[in-house]
C-alpha cells in the first residue's frame, strides 16, 4: 500500500512546489549520470591515490608510477573541461587536448630521466629504497 501511495504523494507534493527546484545539495552525490563533476571526482580520487603512493611507498620506481597516476588525473580534468566547453557550444575548442599532449610529452621525458637516475643509483648503491638514499655523493 505504501509502495503505491508514496509515488502519488511525492507527485502531489511536487505539484505544490515552486518552479525550478533548488540545488540538490549533498544528495547530488548520489545522482548516477556522469556529469563533468563526476569526472572531477574520479580525477581527484586518482590524484589522492597517487599522492598517497608518493608519500608512503619505499620503492622509488613505484613512486615514479604514482607520479604517472597524478599526471593522468590532471589529464582527465583537462579533457573533461574541454568536453564541457565543447558541449556549451565552443565546438573548435581543443586547448585542453593540447595541454594533455604536452603533459604526456613531459611525462615521457621525466620517465626517461628518472629511470636513468634509478639505474645509475642502483649501480652505485644496490638499492632502490628511498629511505636508504640520503646522500648525493658517496
Amino acid at each position: 500500500m505504501t509502495a503505491l501511495l508514496s509515488p502519488a504523494l511525492a507527485f502531489l507534493w511536487q505539484l505544490g512546489q515552486p518552479e525550478a527546484p533548488a540545488s540538490p545539495g549533498w544528495l547530488g552525490w548520489f545522482d548516477v549520470s556522469p556529469t563533468t563533476t563526476k569526472f572531477l571526482i574520479l580525477s581527484s580520487l586518482l590524484f589522492i591515490i597517487g599522492v598517497g603512493g608518493v608519500l608512503a611507498r619505499r620503492n622509488i620506481i613505484v613512486i615514479f608510477m604514482s607520479i604517472e597516476l597524478i599526471l593522468n588525473a590532471a589529464n582527465i580534468n583537462f579533457i573533461a573541461f574541454t568536453r564541457h566547453w565543447q558541449m556549451l557550444g565552443h565546438i573548435n575548442e581543443h586547448t585542453g587536448e593540447l595541454f594533455t599532449i604536452f603533459i604526456i610529452t613531459v611525462a615521457a621525458a621525466e620517465a626517461a630521466i628518472g629511470l636513468g637516475i634509478v639505474v645509475s643509483l642502483y649501480r652505485n648503491r644496490e638499492t632502490v629504497a628511498v629511505d636508504e638514499i640520503d646522500l648525493l655523493k658517496w
Binding site: F47, N59, H84, M87, E97, A111, V119, S120, V130
Partner: protein
Amino acid sequence: MGTATSDLSHSIAEHMVMILHGAEAWFFWLLALLALMGGLFTVLARSAVHSAIFLMMTLIAVAGLFLLMHAEFVMGVQILVYVGGVMVLFLFVIMLVNVREERLEKARLFSRQWFWAMLFAGALAFTFSYAIRLADPGQAARTRTADQPPELVGRNPQGATPVSANTQQVGAALYTQGALPFEIASILLLVAIIGSVLLARTPRQERLYDQEQEQETP
C-alpha cells in the same frame, strides 16, 4: 526573469552539463572503477612488476574515458606513448634493478611515513570535495547558457560522422595556438634523450671517457 524563461534555461543547463548519455554512462562507471582499482593496486602491490601491470590497467581505462569524451587523438597518444613506451621503459628498469627484496615477507613495503601520507591525502580529499562543491560546473552552465542557441543543447557537435574530425582539429590547434610549446617540447625530448644516455653510463665507460679527455688536453 520570468518563471517560464528561468525554467527553460534551467532545464537547458541541466541537459548540457550532462556529457554522457545512455550506454556511455555505463561505460563511464565501468572504466572509472577499473581506473580507481588499478590506481589503488599500483600503490598497494607488493611486487613492482605487479604495480606496473596495474598502472597499465589504469592507463588503458583512462584512455577509454578519453574516448568517451570524444578526444580520440589523445586516446591514441595515451595508448601509444604511455602504455607502449613509458610503461615498457618502466618494466625494463624494474627488471634491471629488481632486488627481489619484496619477495621476502619481512621486507618493508612502505617508508614508515603513514601518518604524513594519510594527513596529506586526507587534506587533499577535503580540499577537493570542497572545491568541487564550490565550483560545480553545473553552476557555471546555469549562469552562462541563457544566451546559447537551443539547437546546440545535448547534441554531440562532432559525432555522427564515420571518421572523427578530432585528430585534424587537434593537429590544427597544435600548429597554430601551440606552435611554440610544440617546438620547446621537441627540445625537451632531445635533452631527455641525451640526459638519460649520460646517466646510464657504466663507471667503466665514464673512466674511459675521462682518459680520452686527458689525452686530448695536454
